[in-house]
Symmetry: D2
Subunit: 359 residues, 4 copies
């Protein structure tokens, strides 16, 4: 119902279709007094921008953000912040041939069945372009959390297809992540990932993978059981991102194969502070952050749009062969890194503010 | 914030600690006119009840449900339904020794840090006994969905530790699932699972696993993008269950290793109806049900409570050894099957009702 | 939709029919650490209890409250607080004759048309007995607000039918209010009000009036524009009480007849503090409390249930004459005083907690 | 908290300051398939537009609305509709002299105290210009309700200062209302009202009044007790409008002076249909619409901004005299008529959609 709002006290509502006038969002509930300019937001948008490298879609968009409200003389006022980005390179003509056909594993079929109408241009609302609004809102949440609580959020590409990597989650930085266009800070793995992405692209195919995200310096106590557990809300946030099909926190599925005596994290005293000797829980126990580094993994399926010929049907029920044109990413993960971070920031922001009430 | 409510139009709010007077819930938004008696609810509670078999906790609770409101002359009236179950076998004395110690990987530490106070008796609110309320509410949702839309929800234990199973998700029934106490309908695998659960129990240890859930006969169109996708809400619902650390829909993490041409589900016409040739998407595309069978997997960690000695600290910061007594399940999965089904029913109910508005 | 929840961070959900097993509520979001016992709640319930004086209904109910959860060793734990009151003197037989008839200006007709079914015993959910749950929840909010912020909430009967009164809103106390059974602290007016209530009761009729409520020591800054203004939420809270048909804050309707130069409240400095010279705004400006005493008025219609013969129709469409029996108040206002105060306390609690986030 | 959203299933979130870049809103939950163009919205905006007559502010704004999303090929798609209106005639310089002074009975003081910062230009977010967004959203709701259910919403100025009027609420039309610039369909009264408005304007003063609103053809069953009663939500909606200080439905405060036997609305059968002989309830009983005409009254205080000299203080605590310049309405009521109607349409839309679930 009215599913375009996320959050409770730091609440974002997004709007916009990929080939409409604009995309953007309203953020309601941002505390007043935060220094904020368009460039604070722009730098995160640039990390998500199409056309930023050889392995992303060649659609060219400035993605220039405009702050329309809620900021006065460089500071947030406590009133709603509306952020808007115009669509400038929307080549709707590219999509005319998709007007009457359902692209496999896309939202074309379900949107038409649900709403009785669909904006077929580039996927309309179901396009990943919608996530731009999330990144813009997330930039504000992240700035607040960094300034007030020194919380660090770093996501990176951990796996592309079957190529894994080896990254130290206690030390990895955004700078390291951004040092390769594939956003994997393990440089050897990054090379292999680049290679496989280019290979599938040249085959007219696509590829999936896994993003890992770590949150350091999280205060103890974030999370609102029994339903609104921090782990549950992080899972919800991740699974709301297009192409995400799985989420696990801490050891996740691998932990299901362990015994309790192997998986439990013993408490220890380190320099007078209570810590856990291991962190198989991923920083969340009983749905509440325990002060350890939060870490989780997110599974992305391969991009649904491929140029290879596929079997499908038309809106009038004809069986046809489809070869998509249009511009798209052969692998969404490099550009999804800032999206994951943004959704984490927005999620944490809500809990961080709530903690002021109950903490 | 106030994290004890789930759902928007079919909304449940739960209450109760495991060693308090009672546990239960209020269901607000159940349509009027549904035939409902306590026995409709009781039969699902009995599937979750402690002490039901040799491999579950030996705590003995009738778990007798009382309907306090919202039902008149055997039918729901559209007003809030309050369900209450008294706690009768709450042996608080068993937990005196845990008053001042943090059990590893439990919520003891985080609750105390967050709230400044905790009901240490059996985990208080963080006990899995809280899920009783979910099962009770889920029974109502399930009855409605079965009667109005013939929706079938079947969950089963697919894996215990590293022992997998082989089950046909298009045909598996609750009766088959319940034919073994471990609730795995693959009888050969079930034997092995029983064995491993008894072995770890005798070792004073515990074990985790994976539950798979299938939903058949789902109407097309359930889901409210962009945030409130059906897949995201199912993930949220599952991750809100105690001990759950992972969720994947369709091929999930395995799909991340595929190419688009392998993973995409081609549309085909079968008997004049649009179907997908494969179902790697798990019945949800673009966050909306596509009419195929929904299937997903949920990872449960091993029970945190074990009798084996563990390292931990006390509330006053002393390093100690802990051997838990108290009664607990060596493996939560068999009793978690009805909990998973209940949360699915509650989740679907919300979307099903919303679809009346927009469908 | 699911209209039985009030509040956002201090959230109450009520349940129960007047002739069902029980009535009560869940309070979710009460901060932990508040000292709380059943007697803290009972004392407010006793002020609302039926049968407390000669001018209230003669239904006899103890209205004994039970705390079922959320309190441990005398303090709130931050988990949901479930409060339950059993119905003991529910004489359903008294209502058999109303099974097939719509009582004028009651909810009988609208409930049956909306839900297709109604619990006709004493009005079911639409009975004012439902407000008991509000008073119970309000007692907790009031205790918190008094302890943390010394906020004082005092409501009193200002008018019965056309009999007004003269009360100093800056000094009136609950003790003065409760010194007469009609709960009007102007003793001369109270006598007249008592007289008129008894007169209409003896006529088999009923009578309405106006309650005024004042809130002293409100912190500056409560209110969340643009929609969730403090004045709007207070109005909503009041209009949700059975029999309420009007609300005005500050000068209200009388202010509509003024010029701006007459109505505006000039700011002045008093002892170095900014105050307003007058308080025609009623303590709220721009939807936010300004630190002055909040004051508003609430119009209650006469009790719909009367013994005098009335014209009405049956559920099968027959025109009939109706003389209600059953037990009821000839005037709801004396017992509505604690209800008004409770809803004010619940409303303020929400804003007070929210202010911790943004303040 | 995050108080800029109204509604549950038809949900609007507004943004914008009067002297910022733009004002507007996102509407989430509008059903798909509704024919919608900018002109459908523009015609209601034009009724609210500043500068439309001699008795309104002389600020000149086109108030040209742009639909940015949610509409495709002339029909709503079920995705969020973003509406935007640029501010073009924002003369911020006019407000420089108000930077450091609190205008009496405005939101200047409370906003600064609450948020620690305020956009002093024309009142910023607290300006009535924010209501433009409501009128735009309301135009969509109204169109839907007219097309699907022939619901008619007509508001009119019933009273200015102490000048009342005489209008038949069963027959009054928008055309009649708009036939005078004061929007009172009683032409004799309208003349007097015009006179008084011009007189106070020339005095540098302002004046208040009462708007009455009627809703005809409302389906039976709208309203969600116990809290979310139709009457309570209408009151909330009205009290969220700037300058509103009172609300009463049906006989309201006058009804508080009646006996039950005088006020109750007897049920009668008219042409085989159940009706009420009188309509003192105002079309709502037990919080649910009963099919009779809904009617209520809304008290507006005089415009706070006046040119007459007033006593006030500065932000640094100096006592000063203030004579406001800037452009403003001497009486807000004529332009408030479409605002009242819009908030009613938005409120009803929510209940109308909810009724599809439960009805």
């Amino acid at each position: 119902m009215a599913g375009n709002t996320f959050g409770t006290v730091f609440k974002i509502t997004t709007f916009g279709e990929t080939h409409g006038k604009s995309v953007g969002c309203i953020i309601d509930g941002c505390p007043s007094g935060l220094a904020l300019s368009e460039s604070d937001i722009q730098k995160d948008l640039d990390r998500r921008r199409p056309g930023q490298s050889t392995i992303t879609t060649q659609r060219q968009e400035d993605d220039h953000v405009e702050i329309h409200s809620g900021v006065f003389e460089g500071r947030t006022t406590g009133t709603p912040i509306m952020l808007l980005v115009r669509n400038t390179d929307a080549k709707s003509k590219d999509y005319e041939h998709l007007k009457d056909v359902f692209r496999p594993s896309h939202a074309d079929y379900t949107y038409l069945k649900k709403y009785g109408i669909r904006d077929y241009r580039g996927g309309g609302r179901a396009s990943a372009r919608e996530t731009l609004s999330r990144v813009a809102a997330g930039a504000i949440a992240r700035k607040y959390l960094e300034e007030k609580a020194k919380i660090e959020i770093v996501a990176f590409v951990e796996q592309i297809k079957n190529i894994g990597s080896n990254v130290n989650i206690e030390t990895v930085t955004q700078k390291e992540v951004d040092s390769t266009v594939v956003r994997c800070p393990d440089l050897v793995a990054a090379q292999k990932m680049m290679h496989i992405i280019k290979t599938v692209r040249d085959e007219g195919d696509s590829v999936g993978g896994v993003i890992r995200c770590v949150i350091r310096n999280t205060p103890i106590g974030l999370g609102e059981p029994v339903f609104n557990k921090l782990s549950a809300q992080l899972g919800y946030a991740m699974l709301s991102i297009p192409a995400v099909k799985g989420f696990e926190i801490g050891l996740g599925f691998a932990g299901a194969e362990k015994k309790g005596s192997e998986l439990n994290d013993p408490f220890i005293i380190t320099n007078g502070v209570i810590k856990t000797a291991t962190n198989n829980s991923g920083g969340v126990q009983g749905g509440i952050s325990n002060g350890e580094t939060i870490h989780f993994r997110v599974a992305f399926k391969p991009t649904s749009t491929i140029q290879k010929q596929q079997e499908t049907v038309t809106t009038s029920g004809q069986q046809v062969q489809l070869s998509a044109s249009g511009r798209h990413d052969p692998c969404v993960l490099p550009r999804a890194v800032p999206i994951v971070e943004a959704m984490v920031a927005i999620t944490l922001m809500d809990y961080y503010l709530l903690q002021k009430i109950y903490g």
